[in-house]
Amino acid sequence: MAVEHGLKPEEYEKILSLIGRVPTLTELGIFSAMWNEHCSYKSSKIHLKTLPTKGPQVICGPGENAGVVDIGDGLAVVFKMESHNHPSFIEPYQGAATGVGGILRDVFTMGARPIAALNALRFGAPDHPRTRHLVAGVVEGIGGYGNAFGVPTVGGEVNFHPRYNGNILVNAMAVGIAPADRIFYSAASGVGNPIVYLGSKTGRDGIHGASMASQEFDDATEEKRPTVQVGDPFSEKLLLEACLELMATDAVIAIQDMGAAGLTCSAVEMGAKGNLGVRLDLEHVPCRETGMTPYEMMLSESQERMLMVLRPGREEVAEAIFRKYGLDFAVVGHTTDDKRFRICMNGAEYADLPIKELGDEAPEYDRPWTAPAAPAPLGEVAPVRDLGETLLTLIGSPDLCSRRWVWEQYDHLVQGNTLVRPGGDAAVVRIEGTRKALGVTCDVTPRYVEADPRIGGAQAVAETFRNLCAVGAKPLAITDNLNFGNPERPEIMGQFVAAIRGIGEACSALDTPVVSGNVSLYNETQGRAILPTPAIGAVGLIADCDRIATVPFKAAGAAIVLIGA
């Protein structure tokens, strides 16, 4: 059963020695959710620690739901990129849609109203039988969610390569603005404070989704699908408005969105970060299915839900706000001082686990890795006879042709602040109430990373940096979404380590610290990994929105200048 839950034998042994007995089914589910790669970062933490995360502009670096950077005028930009790769391969529309939903929540759970969204998409070869279906579904899903929610989707990238045939990548990025002195964090504080469930009801969606994200696909993939998360952007929009309204009062002590492994992950993290225990009484969890077991409630990945630690005495005020928006509000537990994670239902106890070892003291691995081999020399490139024809071939190729088909399906104008639309190097979004604007972009060239992960990682950062400079923005910080193959293979781990090294070096040299990010591993099918794809999302500041540069040539007879060798 441990294997079915994605736990390795050593991990199961560790559980036994940690709690001194055989775990209950609910406890097994909780460990499997918290200790899988997606939630625990067990293979990557040790290397991510080497990334530069500090700077005078950084208010909050990695470790929270999103990164927070000061942009002056009392404001902060809050942003992050996150992957939803495996679900999108199985159910492209809902997978992509819920990916967008998840990242938007990560931003507004910190108190920031989302003002821009981007997405980095990687698909298999254009003529692969599944590609068309996946492209159509993913783009429609991103548009379907983002457009209805009301955030402009202003940028991104789309690549095609056979190495993604069995593993597409859907990385969604969100950018929001918040008052710099009203950022909300997830660490619980205060003993005996109410833990409150907010948003949509819980159903049986996506149970085992977090575990699935950490397993490779094999021929039995088609059977891994029964529970897919289904998103409702309308509920998310209501949740956004309700949360922002609540955050304007003093009722919120800590808040976290429910993403992968829903209630389990959010409750454990809030408690562990605050060095507190958590006790949940599941009979109070609003359910939309009958007869849900504690196991199901703890692992459900129903969307559009948040978990909050509430200031005692504010229950009525808070509940009224959520009822106004037609959302559920329920006190489902309270914080304790014993650093235990206890799950009860109708008086019976189903789990009693040490909270730190589930959360920030979960296993960390230093997986063996081999340094990547030097790339083979390129060799001779035949001289081109017909430049015109070659040019047409190039700009008509899948990786260089216009992406208009994609971004015209995204509402990139809602909120009325889009100053530079998709199509250029970076999009620009105005910041209301100021003269400022933000440049936003995401980029990586996976075949460079494949050839030389260290240089490829650095190049990705450098390219986003240049994209921002090209619109007149001063790059402030980056978020990184690292998509790699199976980390248990030393050569893959080697790519990962080298890419992180390159990213770190570039960030240091360019003064763009990493303030948030995501890691997606096990992107492999039948032993063949994707191209190593460390997608970088970057944000820059434009001090005066009248001083923006754009791509199109403006007048005949002007000089064209090439800068750099």
């Binding site: 199985i90 809902q94 289904v230 309308f234 299915e289």
Partner: protein, 80 residues
């Protein structure tokens, strides 16, 4: 021959549309309204005249295109 296909969300899949419709009916004063589910109706004119073959063909259409079998189920009815 005409085939009538009903495509509905599998039990347990979130149906915010159905819920909203139910709520709106309540607001409009209709009483005794329980669960509401919204699905698709697809009507297909077929040249095929043999009912068994027609049905098999339409079920195949459902599996391959009409239904998203990850989250939807279908039933087929032949008319005329």
């Amino acid at each position: 021959m005409k085939a009538r296909v009903h495509i509905t969300l599998k039990t347990g899949v979130l149906d915010p549309q159905g819920k909203a419709i139910g709520k709106a009916l309540g607001t409009l004063g209709f009483e005794g309204v329980g669960e509401v589910r919204q699905g698709k109706l697809i009507e297909i004119e077929l040249a095929e005249t043999d009912p068994a073959r027609a049905e098999a063909s339409v079920r195949d259409m459902c599996e391959k295109l009409l239904a998203n079998t990850v989250i939807e189920k279908y039933d087929v009815e032949l008319v005329g």
